[in-house]
Symmetry: none
Subunit: 216 residues, 4 copies
């Protein structure tokens, strides 16, 4: 049994704050959203990290962004093997059912998942190589990225590069989904890669023309 506990009082009070302000001011809008369903223009794929507030960063209104957050903002390659793929399900739903116009993948600085991947691939975290390590197996997605950055001088620089690779690998994997590729080729969907620096609030975007990340 799950033995769920009541919500801590603190969160109850804060919820009522939302109810009395944001909700109260937008009541009819919420009702419409509920009745007519969501109609997001953009899917955002970002990390679970508590320091990355994507809704705040993009001034997201209720109903605007379909948001998937997982460890290290990764998209695995297309594998229709009948197994459970939560991220692939989110992408499929966003693209096929909601028909979003944009998919944005956003990485960030000091990413714990990426640091774990770096430690694992460089032989410093054997426990992450174990079959039973969910984080380790999940970070396997980023192994091809590690190969591309492993000759950079210095671990901090390697990790920073690997955080950006987490975005690029995901963008590449996204294109292995036939329904994504088709819509991108038809000009109906565009994909975007970002990297966010928590310390100084900077945001970089990947420019295909320059094959590099560049500050916004």
């Amino acid at each position: 049994m799950h033995r769920a506990k009541p919500l801590p009082n603190l969160l109850v009070q804060r919820y009522h704050g939302w109810k009395a302000t944001t909700f109260a001011e937008n009541k009819s809008w919420y009702r419409r959203l509920a009745e007519e369903g969501q109609r997001p223009k953009t899917m955002l794929i970002s990390c679970c990290d508590s320091r990355v507030h994507v809704t705040s960063l993009f001034g997201a209104d209720q109903g605007e962004f379909f948001i998937h957050r997982n460890i290290a903002n990764l998209v695995p390659p297309y594998e229709p093997d009948g197994n459970q793929h939560g991220t692939s399900a989110a992408v499929e739903y966003a693209v096929n059912a909601l028909k979003v116009a944009h998919v944005v993948v956003m990485g960030h600085s000091s990413c714990g998942g990426v640091a774990g991947c770096h430690a694992m691939c460089s032989g410093q975290a054997p426990e992450l190589e174990e079959k039973s390590s969910f984080v380790g197996r999940w970070m396997d997605i980023l192994r091809p990225g590690y190969e591309r950055i492993k000759d950079i001088e210095g671990e901090p620089a390697q990790r920073a590069a690997l955080e950006r690779e987490a975005v690029l690998v995901s963008l590449e994997n996204l294109m292995t989904f036939p329904f994504v590729r088709d819509r991108v080729e038809a000009g109906e969907l565009s994909v975007h890669g970002l990297w966010h620096d928590i310390a100084n609030g900077a945001l970089e975007q990947y420019l295909a023309t320059e094959k590099a990340f560049s500050p916004i």
Copy 2:
């Protein structure tokens, strides 16, 4: 290749709005979060749905909530089979690495994923039964919940009950993770189940003592 496009102007503009306000007012706080790492007290598991703004709902400050969002806020059962399990990786990281004190699973009304599961389980969506349907395979997690609500009168009532089952099944599955169960039994972790009604802003919590959801 992934052909990433530059970020749409609208989002660029909004990002600069964030930079000039929220970031500017909290600059030193962001630097500290970056330098000292995150220390969230709570993990939130909610749906990708664009209408569900968990950070807003709980007045979340940067650094407070570790947030995983997937289709229908589902947690699969513990399966250390070496495959990629993004949700399990997020749970493992939150509980073992970040040592959060609370895990909150929040479902919501008009959930598209749950509606799909209902259609699939009631024989109305054979395409979701296909091996290649990521959404279908992901919603398989909720099949045990469907069994418990299928005799309720009327489809809308069944779907509303299934949305709450998505929370309960996830809470049950959470307890199949040894590291979750151990910490819950040691009194070091508590789990909570919520269901949010988008139309009227209501929030219900699961009360184990009453074996029912009850308005907050």
Copy 3:
């Protein structure tokens, strides 16, 4: 000798209530706070008045607010004269050691300290003018505020204005601390002035643009 007595039973009982509920539900969180130290984002300066519950008012979680409470929420001017300045020590610790991002000074209605200051400055409380009156000497900090409100019509209005002056004088004095001024000018610290009405629960904030307090 100090002849300390055992804690009254009522408080013993309530403490056990806290231990069995709030503490029990957040055990692991408290352990982390103890091990890793505090990291508050905000310093709150408010009155000792028993009716002003700042933690409740702002849904404060353990670890969020560094709180200094003194009579009439006053900050004295910067005086590095080698004497004991408890408030200045608290400000120094919050800004220099903890590097908070915000300092909030909150005054309130029916403030006994402010009423005392008003009586003293208007000649109605000669006992507060005595050298041995700690309250009188402490309220000397607010004398410049009295000068600004003494021509308002009616004593109740004067007192209400003086409560807001207690906030403004404190904000001005805060800026005489070099380490505060430097960080404010560097955009790394912001200061905020509030006044809380106990009777109706209202909260006003000082808006520099309007040079006035305005309801939130």
Copy 4:
């Protein structure tokens, strides 16, 4: 000028949560508190530390506790020298004006102020000896306590003992205030010394009979 900024949105939302719940449920009580003034039974002197929630610990209702919080919960000795003594003013107001029946001084584990005092007195923090160090001069109050614990084996044990000395020195200093001593001797006021362990939620009280702190 002080350049006060508007209150961060997050705190605005949380305030409205308090208004819609705690305040709404106790409206008439707040009005009485405002009209009739406060009537606290107990004065609490505790640290500013963000991890020490005294109102939560003692289930404090609005109007019950007159709370003074400063660095390291210190009370200086009685010095009616005409200078500003914020803590002495708070004690004077609580005892003479409000006529509280109890004064409780509560110390706590991992106290940054006490650690600073230890470093200063043991010659490891010369910067705290400077005239301009507000924290250093404030912690001078605790020097007599350092003399009593400096021969204990090991720094962690010394610091833990010094945290309790911060309580005992304050209780001793309290008795140097004539109006405190008179009321204690008349049996109209009692003083209490506590030490709170953040990590395990424990609370110890000083027992004069045993000349030691003992768990509650």
